[in-house]
Symmetry: C2
Subunit: 343 residues, 2 copies
């Protein structure tokens, strides 16, 4: 009478309904070929009729595989806010889709909360078969710990060549070099760098910046490198507080992320500085908004799609006993109004 409490059915219920043993039912549901075709169909049909779903927990326990990957997003201890950079969402979406496509679930964690010990929490406890760590932060020692513990994991970040774990990431150095060379080609003589070089990825971008300056025979002024967090606000404040007052005449700025660049642009425009005529500006990431601010933002586009897929592919390969290798992804300069003086 009325709707039944819908107690979840178990495999043994299905087996009973189909008149076979649990083992036969299990094999039938997994399409094991030793099972007679008719039996298999019957079991599958009954399971479907009752909307039976294998209990994932029991299966995991028995098979010792969770088919779950933990994704950990590292971010600044300082910027204690929730994840903010739009770029993260981009790559997160790709990873989510790709994991699903491969039959894996995704457990998401932000470093703020689980800063204890990922290995214990996710791996030792069998919550996940492997880890994807996004961002190396400021040389986070926890990442190094993982590598010594035999945990399958891959990192999105900057490969320096020295790390003992696989790192997938954009060719930050070349991207920055392209960006700054472009600024120089537009006539810039004195270019500032906004970004916190304590992050490995940003450090690489700084090296690319130096590459471009040196290739052009421009003298490097260390004072033009300003540590700036990954937010529009940081870019805005940095520009207001430092760039104008302390730095003499600049004619170009390379911001280590689009978010920073947007803050910078705001500050410049507020001061009546014309972008790109007086100061040309280039960012990094190509977030969605970059094309739609005014002037639109020249930037370096990372291939998040390839990156996400590669992260997943490498991790799964590693989990299945194979090797995972670090890899650099090519980037592309997207020229927009914030830096284009000619034409």
């Amino acid at each position: 009478m009325g709707i039944k409490p819908a107690k979840t059915l178990t495999l043994s219920d299905i087996a009973r309904l189909a008149g076979v043993s649990e083992s036969t039912a299990s094999r039938a549901l997994r399409d094991n070929p030793v099972i007679n075709a008719q039996t298999r169909q019957k079991v599958q049909q009954i399971a479907a009729e009752h909307q039976f779903k294998v209990n994932a927990t029991a299966r995991s326990l028995r098979t010792q595989k969770s088919y779950t990957i933990a994704v950990i997003i590292l971010f600044d201890a300082k910027t204690q806010q929730a994840i903010t950079d739009p770029f993260l969402l981009d790559i997160l979406g790709v990873i989510a889709d790709e994991l699903t496509r491969q039959g894996y679930d995704m457990l998401l964690s932000t470093s703020k909360t689980t800063d204890k010990d990922w290995r214990s929490y996710y791996f030792d406890s069998k919550r996940a078969d492997g880890l994807i760590v996004i961002g190396q932060g400021e040389h986070d020692e926890r990442v190094e710990q993982l590598s010594s513990a035999g945990v399958p994991f891959v990192v999105w970040g900057a490969a320096t060549g020295n790390e003992s774990f696989p790192v997938i990431g954009s060719d930050n150095r070349q991207g920055a070099q392209l960006a700054v060379a472009h600024l120089i080609a537009q006539g810039c003589k004195r270019v500032a760098f906004l970004g916190d070089i304590r992050h490995t990825e940003i450090e690489m971008r700084y090296l690319g910046y130096l590459d471009a300056l040196q290739a052009a025979g421009i003298n490097v002024e260390p004072a033009l490198q300003l540590n700036t967090d990954f937010t529009a606000q940081a870019g805005y404040l940095q520009t207001q507080q430092t760039l104008f007052s302390q730095l003499g005449s600049l004619d170009g700025i390379f911001a280590a992320s689009d978010a920073i660049a947007m803050g910078t642009m705001k500050a410049l425009l507020e001061h009546g500085i014309k972008v790109p005529q007086q100061v040309a500006l280039v960012g990094f990431d190509d977030i969605a908004m970059s094309a739609y601010c005014t002037p639109s933002l020249t930037t370096v586009k990372q291939d998040t799609h390839a990156g996400g897929k590669l992260l997943v592919a490498q991790l799964l390969s590693r989990i299945n006993g194979g090797k995972a290798a670090s890899q650099l992804l090519p980037v592309k300069l997207i020229e927009r109004q914030s830096s284009l003086r000619k034409h």
Copy 2:
């Protein structure tokens, strides 16, 4: 010799090392008071020394609780891309933190990939104890299905008062009403609405738009409501293709999201239209970039922090046998340059 293979220890190993039974070890680790204090300490110490972590899978199987919540992000079938709106990341971050704080893990899924049957996949299979659905999409029938199936879940979206499930969301109608009333106060006589009203949240915003117009005695022109997807690109194209050519003279635009508004702004500025002098513009969401575009964007701020916490609180209450109630969160108009004509 060398590093040991580090085979994971089980509870029975710890029990043996401590010289007690598994049951005692289990109780000791969970701080069960019936266990003698000395025994408890000894067991805990040994567990700590060996970095023992309870196997979450086994525990889940036995206790019938996964301490995991599945978060499902719905988005347009049309915009088949990965999650794009920065607003989502905001609330996702809050939910992640709050779940962690409450001892729950978060399983993230995007609707594109798991469009089968969430109930089966997440709940029947015991992967999750409950679901948080973000966005109702275009009256997604799958959400309704959930409610009839006894699955604990809550939705972030727009409560209409008719739904059979708990919906937490901003007071979209009032937010829109505030925004449009503000435009009218700035002198706008003819205000367009950009947003796809097939989404319940947007529909509410449209109602608020109508409220404000009617309160001001302004005639409603249905042609001024233009279905537009949640992206800057959609806003840009819509503005270019429709607003200029077909709509006569507008002096105000209310965009249903900041992303749309930014696209619109770009198109307006490209056409040499002065914002806010000729056309005043208001968005919705208060994403991080809104303060940093030029002119900065007036918008309606949603309280994502309260929203995320409330979603989690209601869901957990529901899981623990309590009730979950729909709730409307207050919003706030943030006045910025894109609409401020006076002063």
